[in-house]
Subunit: 83 residues, 2 copies
């Protein structure tokens, strides 16, 4: 999940998203999620965001077989993920 | 490609990335890219970023069959993509 949210609402959005996903970089979260929880997440976000100002994109991988993740530089969310 | 780059270097990073990919949201680019060009992109970025301050993540989809993209709210890159 990547988001670009007005600063008035960004903390609320992050708080919701972190109930379901793990923060990995500024404005980026990742995680495994069931279809039911994904629907809940989107429902909660919809109540917070302003459709004409904010933007969220979900990239959904149904399998890990054909996907890869590569990083360069610092892994910002790492400390948190270890905890 | 998602990036979190110190503001001193962020414009350079975006300029490089846009030679290969399309900007779709603050700090997010997408695109189809050959393996050779992907290597070039990473090489160019490596010369700009500071490994201990900046962070870039690439999510690579080898096929579109098992992936989906969903958006909520505004599609910020859309105007640009139409042009």
């Amino acid at each position: 999940m990547v988001y670009d949210i007005n600063e008035k609402r960004v903390n609320k959005v992050l708080k919701i998203a972190r109930k379901y996903l793990t923060w990995v970089q500024n404005s980026v979260l990742e995680g495994e999620i069931t279809e039911a929880k994904f629907i809940k997440l989107k429902y909660e976000l919809k109540n917070i965001i302003k459709e004409d100002e904010d933007s969220i994109i979900f990239y959904i991988f149904r399998t890990k077989l054909y996907t890869k993740r590569e990083t360069m530089g610092k892994e910002k969310g790492k400390e948190e993920r270890i905890i």
